[in-house]
């Protein structure tokens, strides 16, 4: 029994510690506490929280819901679709009034969507599409206009280098990235003198882009432009070009609008990024959910604006966000 006590005492201390930490870590705790007692519970499950984009998206949701007197629990699926399924059933069984989902695997969500619709819990998908067959199970999807983001990138490039010989760094398993490249290519048809030399996979990360870009520099000595599908990718491209002393001869355009991306624009290393507005995606998704719960009808597909950021408006964009 002695060892049982030894196990239990730290456990109890630990739980006390968690409760303490939890209350303390809520930045606006007074508001959260009053909401906790009165408001409805909403849940959000994101494929990862290890990306500023989703942190901002969550902030947008939370602000809007808490302003309405409700509260939001955000869960991190850690790129694990089974964890996402479990997280969602936890929220559903707890009686969440509505749930926001950014799917890890859009094929794998069906079981959770069925469970939610049986329990009449409305679901809004954020920053991603779902399968056509599953559309009737959700309220709507709210995502950036990724096709437009690709078009803006192509336009920006055409303005500075209408005869660009370029390469594309892709993440072809991701629907948002597929849309960006599609928009980019559609816009390129307006500029027949521009030529895509190659399309390569670069994982959407900085460390993924670097080696791929170094190989491309070797293979295409005359390349003078790059379209990278997001800011982290573009940062890897910059680093590769920099170490090959070719940065000043190559124009890089991308999509994202992260702090790091804008700083690279201000430093003259990156030409443009088509900025997304994750907080706005969150805010709009929350508004749609509240409208749906009031019985109003909601559009099935909501596109959130994107905006081209170059050296001209970088300062202004940073200040306003």
């Amino acid at each position: 029994m002695n060892s049982a006590l030894r196990f239990l005492i730290p456990l109890i201390l630990l739980t006390i510690c968690i409760t303490g930490c939890n209350d303390g870590s809520d930045s606006d705790s007074s508001q959260a506490e009053s909401a906790a007692t009165t408001g409805r519970l909403f849940g959000a499950s994101f494929q990862t929280m290890n990306n500023p984009f989703f942190v901002d998206l969550g902030k947008g949701l939370k602000n809007e819901l808490e302003a309405n007197g409700d509260r939001l629990v955000i869960l991190d699926a850690q790129f694990n679709s089974l964890k996402q399924k479990n997280d969602l059933s936890d929220l559903i069984l707890q009686g969440a009034a509505g749930i926001f989902v950014n799917p890890v695997n859009w094929e794998g969500l069906k079981g959770s969507l069925l469970e939610a619709s049986r329990k009449k819990v409305p679901i809004i998908i954020v920053d991603a599409p779902v399968k056509k067959a599953d559309e009737e199970l959700i309220v709507c999807t709210v995502a950036s206009d990724n096709v437009r983001a690709g078009e803006l990138a192509a336009q920006a490039l055409a303005k500075v280098n209408p005869k660009a010989r370029l390469v594309v760094l892709h993440l072809s398993v991701n629907k948002a990235c597929i849309d960006r490249v599609e928009g980019f290519k559609t816009e390129l048809e307006q500029h027949p003198e521009m030529k895509i030399l190659d399309v390569q996979e670069a994982q959407g990360t900085t460390e993924g882009a670097r080696p791929v870009m170094r190989d491309l520099i070797g293979r295409y000595p005359d390349l003078d432009a790059v379209f990278a599908i997001n800011d982290p990718n573009a940062l890897g491209v910059i680093s590769a070009l920099d170490s090959a002393n070719k940065l000043d001869r190559v124009t890089i355009v991308t999509v994202d609008g992260s702090q790091a991306g804008i700083k690279a624009i201000q430093a003259g290393k990156l030409h443009s990024t088509s900025a997304q507005f994750p907080q706005e995606i969150g805010k709009i998704a929350a508004e749609k959910m509240l409208a749906h719960l009031k019985g109003e009808s909601v559009d099935k597909e909501v596109k959130v604006r994107v905006e081209l950021i170059t050296a001209e408006n970088a300062e202004q964009y940073l200040e306003s966000h």
């Binding site: 029994m1 060892s3 049982a4 030894r6 196990f7 239990l8 730290p10 456990l11 109890i12 630990l14 739980t15 968690i18 930490c21 939890n22 870590s25 519970l41 929280m49 509260r71 629990v73 955000i74 869960l75 991190d76 850690q78 790129f79 694990n80 679709s81 089974l82 399924k85 479990n86 997280d87 059933s89 936890d90 929220l91 069984l93 707890q94 009686g95 695997n105 859009w106 094929e107 794998g108 069906k110 079981g111 399968k131 398993v173």
Partner: protein, 319 residues
């Protein structure tokens, strides 16, 4: 009696955790929520059952997460290739056997490589984790393969309920638990496992068929991972080549929290079940109590540390 006494702190921990979360989450102990808990832990528990045997003989299997993905993709790929848009029980059986067969091959390889070469199991299974993951990603260019709506038997495995109450994954988990408990605690093979983990040299000299036991243990671990993979795939309505990452670590955590010694030779199947339940309660409780996701990592890490610390202390007292 000794086994029961060893389990007292773990059982007490379960009760305390349940009551604590009941304070935060009023609906926590509702039957539906508890039934959902058993369903949520099923995949991890099945992985942990196999992992217990491997750890008992002083080994480790890092490939079980990748095996989950590989068995799922192999099965669904075979099924859609041979049965097309129709449902056919016989074709399903063949596809499942193909999936589990692949897992069995990996298991046999692990066993032989571990027993016959000087390569450490950590490295052998690290390598085959990469190989199995790569094989899974070969299917459908790494994208999820959905299970057709007409494949109701396969979808039933992960989503159906026995008599409309008990989810099938729970039925499968409990059946495997009983089988593994009997195998480990009531057969000569089970005694051999403990002997092998306690002292390999001695086991060899007393005439225990060391190679055969080791191959069997890794084989069982891989095939159980395959079964977990089938449930996982069915629950997700699709086979996902990239899924199952880090599953091996959660399974190992359940085994060590359940009191199995990481150096082998000591531990029980019952302990592993309790370990998996504790981790499951933590996951569910922290989620439903609305604990920030960053704190969830910290708490789970701390619980594993505490559990293993107590185990190590108890072990020292016993010696």
């Amino acid at each position: 009696m000794k086994v029961v006494r060893q389990m007292v702190p773990l059982l007490a921990a379960i009760i305390i955790l349940l009551l604590l979360f009941r304070i935060w989450v009023p609906t926590f102990l509702a039957p539906e929520n508890m039934l959902d808990l058993t369903q949520q832990i099923s995949v991890n528990t099945i992985l942990a059952l196999g992992m217990t045997l491997v750890i008992l003989i002083g080994g480790i299997d890092l490939s079980v997460g990748a095996m989950v993905a590989l068995v799922g993709t192999t099965t669904v790929y075979c099924l859609s290739a041979i049965s097309g848009d129709t449902q056919n029980g016989f074709y399903l059986l063949i596809s499942i056997l193909a999936g589990l067969g692949v897992a069995a091959l990996f298991g046999i390889f692990h066993g032989i490589a571990a027993a016959k070469t000087a390569m450490p199991p950590f490295i052998i299974t690290l390598a085959s984790m990469l190989i199995a993951r790569g094989c899974a990603l070969r299917f459908n260019s790494g994208l999820p393969i959905s299970i057709g709506d007409q494949q109701t038997i396969l979808l039933e495995i992960g989503n159906g309920r026995l008599f409309g109450v008990v989810p099938f994954p729970v039925v499968i988990m409990l059946t495997l638990f009983v089988l593994m408990a009997l195998l480990l605690h009531r057969t000569r093979f089970g005694q051999h496992i403990y002997a092998l983990g306690g002292n390999r040299e001695a086991a060899l000299y007393t005439g225990i068929p060391v190679v055969r036991v080791e191959v069997m243990v890794y084989l069982i671990c891989s095939v159980l991972a395959g079964v977990a993979g089938l449930i996982h795939t069915s629950q997700l309505y699709s086979a996902e080549p990239a899924s199952g990452e880090m599953f091996e670590l959660t399974a190992i955590a359940a085994v060590v929290v359940g009191g199995t010694s990481f150096t082998g030779g000591r531990g029980t199947i019952f302990g592993t079940l309790i370990g998996a339940i504790i981790i499951g309660i933590l996951d569910k409780g922290l989620n439903q109590a609305g604990i920030h996701y960053s704190l969830q990592y910290i708490v789970k890490g701390a619980v594993i540390l505490i559990a293993v610390y107590i185990d190590v202390r108890r072990n020292r007292q016993a010696v």
